[in-house]
Symmetry: C2
Subunit: 228 residues, 2 copies
DNA sequence: TTAGCATTCAAACGAACGTTTGATTGCAAT
DNA sequence: ATTGCAATCAAACGTTCGTTTGAATGCTAA
């Protein structure tokens, strides 16, 4: 046993090159719109390399996701741990919960040089086109983070019905997704558009907070007052 | 000239059957994920019928869009006309602008029996995956509506910088898109989830209004005070 | 009855798809 | 030197793709 080669992470770049190329192409053209020949060509590797290293196109897609989503989940959980440690048993403020949840996503989306932005575009896109095999691992990999953050949100807004909070979290994720896909889609609908990307985060957070803390609609108020 | 057959809209159902089948399949699996054979099979027409009636797969996609988007645009413009007529030269209230813009979309999304819901899912999905050939006609068909509604929003919020308004409109469209794709994506991220669909609209509008009227972020306030 | 024409149909086209194969390469350990 | 093995490679596999073709069909107008 000269060297525990064991869990071999050999072939220094080709796996990474494939993942990077695939990430960008999937974000740009979607899963079905991207071919193995495009991926391997852009990564400058042999056509068979993907099947050799990952097994299949779907497995590659999963790995593209797992690589960054795992990182994003860790960041979100760390943020929440830190925040909850600071306040002890007291509930967090809604703004703190939002910062912990969307902060890491926006930071990742702001990283345009290491693929973070590319991945967040892919994530937003995939969310609206959940292919069969994607639903499965998406739900699994998101589960813990969503569970902990929804609970934190419940506690931060004790007077708001839980169903309402879940919906608003959903609305907020939509707003953030569009914010990240951002300028492309914006230019698609309005005319040309250029703006300081650094302003996106303050803009978005004040919008989200406004929506999250908006007065409850009357119909919901009525439903929440009586029984249950 | 016995009958002005002229602009023939013959073949009573096959065009419509193709459009309906294509609309559903495109919404479910995307453009690249849907094959001509799936479409024609689900529509119970011959494989060559699509190319005969529409010319190509892309042209079919365009027609699927045009059919409903045209209707949606008309509704939105009618709403705005009516509202502006009511108030004369005075600016509209933000809530009125939102009602005019998102009301027709939500109504269409609530129609689950005539394909309206299906189309709105497709629209939200396409927004985040703008294929080359889609960008073109999307921008064209959206142009007039977006122009008029952004102006109406400017006037309804005279103290808010225009760039801010454009962004917030963008955020709102994201929230609405997610709201419509709705329960599918929600169940993907949280656990199971069931709720009264009739409550969606009041929930969404109070959220949107809260976001739209939220206080401006400090950075933007600073930028807007000095020159320019 | 017949001519014209829009529509439908079965069949085939070449191209591109994801995947597999079997040989070749180049380094590490014997 | 030689064996072992992970990695790369060119080539081919069988499918499925969007589109085209040319013949059949059925209705309408002359």
């Amino acid at each position: 046993m000269p060297q525990p080669v064991a869990d071999n992470r050999n072939s220094p770049d080709t796996r990474e090159r494939i993942l990077d190329a695939a990430e960008w192409l999937f974000a740009e053209h979607g899963f079905d719109g991207t071919s193995m020949r495009q991926i391997t060509s852009q990564a400058s590797v042999n056509l068979a390399a993907v099947n050799y290293h990952f097994g299949s196109k779907e497995a590659l897609f999963h790995e593209v996701f797992h690589r960054r989503l795992n990182q994003l989940n860790l960041l979100r959980l760390q943020e929440l741990d830190k925040l909850e440690q600071e306040v002890g048993d007291a509930p967090l403020k809604p703004s703190q919960v939002l910062e912990g949840f969307f902060g890491p996503a926006l930071e990742m989306a702001a990283d345009t040089t290491h693929g973070g932005h590319t991945f967040m575009r892919l994530l937003g896109r995939t969310y609206t086109e959940p292919a069969e095999f994607v639903r499965k691992f998406m739900a699994e990999e998101y589960a813990e983070v969503m569970e902990r953050y929804t609970v934190a949100l419940y506690r931060s807004l004790p007077d708001v019905p839980r169903a309402e909070i879940v919906w608003r979290l959903h609305f907020m994720m939509g707003a953030v997704s569009y914010a990240i896909s951002g300028i492309d889609a914006l230019a698609l609908v309005t005319g040309r558009f250029d703006d300081d990307p650094a302003l996106l985060k303050p803009r978005l957070t004040s919008f989200l907070l406004g929506g999250l803390r908006a007065p409850l609609p009357e119909q919901v108020m009525q439903d929440t007052k009586p029984a249950r």
